[in-house]
């Protein structure tokens, strides 16, 4: 009996070792660890997708890491942190930081828009609405903030909304006045952090993505399409907003032009688990799969997802081609 148990133990060890050393050698079913880097604003929907995906593919263990999109992309390009998938709140980040060295293609899969969040304890919470919000933000004693435009796309997008508001409401000097009432200390590394400041009463109003507001059950003011950066048909107006953000080295600057919020996703070239990555992307882009989850969580998806050219489409793994259309 003891011998038999020992034999079992040995067999188990051998099997485990085989599992460790040759994770992809047998079978077509994806398995092993799948590392996903994603924008902080995707945390809640991706957490849900992870659960569903893991019940579909029980052998895959999804490991997610969320943060400012620019930072997450840098983790791949500079620190060479292993990752299989990168999902960015601004698809441009993938184009700029990862392609061509760390990725080949970029799929646009969802949109978002900016809203002004608050709680019922915020100052003037009873008064504020879609018409007077900018007058409230000018008031002394109202503490409002946004995330750091140099680190987080949500940050420069918040500033763009303010610039567009000046043009849209035709109030001269509105932008300068608003920024003057927002001391630097109200700027935070990433937008999701502002949620806890709102909830603890350290802040009255914060600029967030609609999806974040919905997921964290915050109150929010929905802005007109002309300024909320959510409707790609308004891109010609959005691009009038220009924000200076830090460039490649300290002291240098680049200008970002307004554009509708478009999320991009890609597979990292030297990822350790391309099979699982492909399976996850297939699930994500399925209108009844990941896209449905996004929709439920206030993040309107592109159905079908979009790639900019036939060339990009031809570079996709075959199983993913059916989920995308070529549309710029």
């Amino acid at each position: 009996m003891k011998k038999f148990v020992n034999f079992l133990k040995c067999a188990l060890v051998v099997l485990l070792a085989a599992g460790v050393f040759f994770p992809f050698s047998v079978g077509a079913e994806p398995q092993g660890k799948l590392i996903i880097f994603h924008a902080g604003s995707l945390t809640v929907p991706f957490a849900k997708m992870e659960k569903i995906f893991e019940t579909k593919y029980p052998k895959v263990d999804v490991l997610r890491e969320g943060g400012g999109s620019t930072k997450m992309a840098r983790m791949i390009s500079e620190l060479h942190k292993p990752a299989d998938i990168m999902a960015s709140a601004d698809f441009k980040v993938i184009d700029i930081t990862l392609i061509p060295e760390y990725a080949t293609w970029n799929i646009r899969f969802a949109t978002n828009q900016l809203v002004l969040c608050y709680t019922d304890k915020s100052r003037f919470a009873k008064e504020i609405n879609a018409d007077n919000w900018y007058k409230i933000l000018e008031r002394k004693g109202v503490i409002w903030g946004h995330s750091d435009p140099n680190l987080d796309p949500c940050g420069y997008r918040s500033i763009m909304v303010l610039e567009l508001a000046e043009k849209h409401y035709k109030v001269n000097g509105l932008f300068t006045k608003l920024i003057a009432n927002r001391p630097k200390k109200n700027v935070r590394p990433k937008s999701v952090e502002l949620v806890s400041l709102l909830k603890t009463g350290n802040m009255d109003y914060a600029w967030e993505y609609l999806s974040v507001a919905v997921q964290h059950e915050l109150k929010y003011i929905k802005l007109p399409d002309a300024i909320n950066l959510g409707n790609y048909k308004k891109d010609s107006f959005y691009k009038l907003a220009k924000v200076k953000v830090t460039g490649k080295k300290p002291g240098t600057w680049i200008t970002r032009k307004g554009k509708s919020c478009t999320y991009g996703i890609t597979m990292v070239k030297d990822g350790q688990n391309p099979e699982a990555a492909e399976a996850f992307l297939g699930y994500l882009m399925d209108p009844n799969g990941g896209l449905k989850v996004l929709k439920e969580m206030g993040q309107p998806p592109f159905a079908p997802c979009r790639v900019p050219s036939e060339k990009t489409k031809s570079q996709l793994p075959t199983s993913l081609k059916k989920w995308v259309e070529v549309k710029n």
């Binding site: 840098r74 200390k185 590394p189 080295k249 300290p250």
Partner: protein, 264 residues
Amino acid sequence: MKAKRRIDTFFWVAVFSTGTIMVFILLPLIEMITQPSLHNLKETIQDPDVLHSIWLSIYTSGMAALISFTIGTPFAYLLARRNFVGKKLVESIIDLPIMIPHPVVGIAILGLAGKNHWLGQLMQQVGIHIMGTVTGIVTVLTFVGLPFYVNTVKAGFEAIPVRLENVSRSLGASMANTFFRVTFPLAWRSMLVGIIMCSARAISEFGAVVIVAYHPMIAPVMIYERFTAYGIRYSQPVAVWLILVCLVLFLLLRIFSLPKKKYS
């Protein structure tokens, strides 16, 4: 002979451990320090933002150490000299800040300071603001540094024979007098070490600070910001400068605190 051989083996184990530990600590640090070019380092230290953040780091950690010194010394003395019901509990509580994950510290302090809490309302009425202020940073750093001060100084007090104090008291000196004229001169060195430990802990804090205050930026937050905004090339030099400045500061403090160690 037998005994000697046993010592030998142990000696070599100790040598091996020492080597391993030195390599383990120094290798990553040397790797980082040698990465940036001299030009890079020079450019970085001329950046007023960098200078300001390093200065702010030193200033806020120093303040935290000073506060710990002021309120921590009598407390450590009490712990070293008296037994009371619940002493073990009090000693465990003082260790809590070492164990709690750093962001939790930040979140907890912000939770108190917001206007959804009566304490926060009170503080805001008297004009104390925690979010995004130097006050906030010092508060967080004191929270994380205090245990290091108290534990070090408590051990220092415990090493001083009680009978010296008893002699002083029996000759008519008050408790305060005894403390300042007998205990303090014997314990100041451990207090200095406590201050070093406390400020060293404080200067390295990132997780709790970044939640309470992103701006104004202390050096660790700036290192993080530089990394995210510009990449590793521009964050490393800041880190190198912080390490160098801290190394010099702590070395100086140690030199001042250790000159007369003949009787050990």
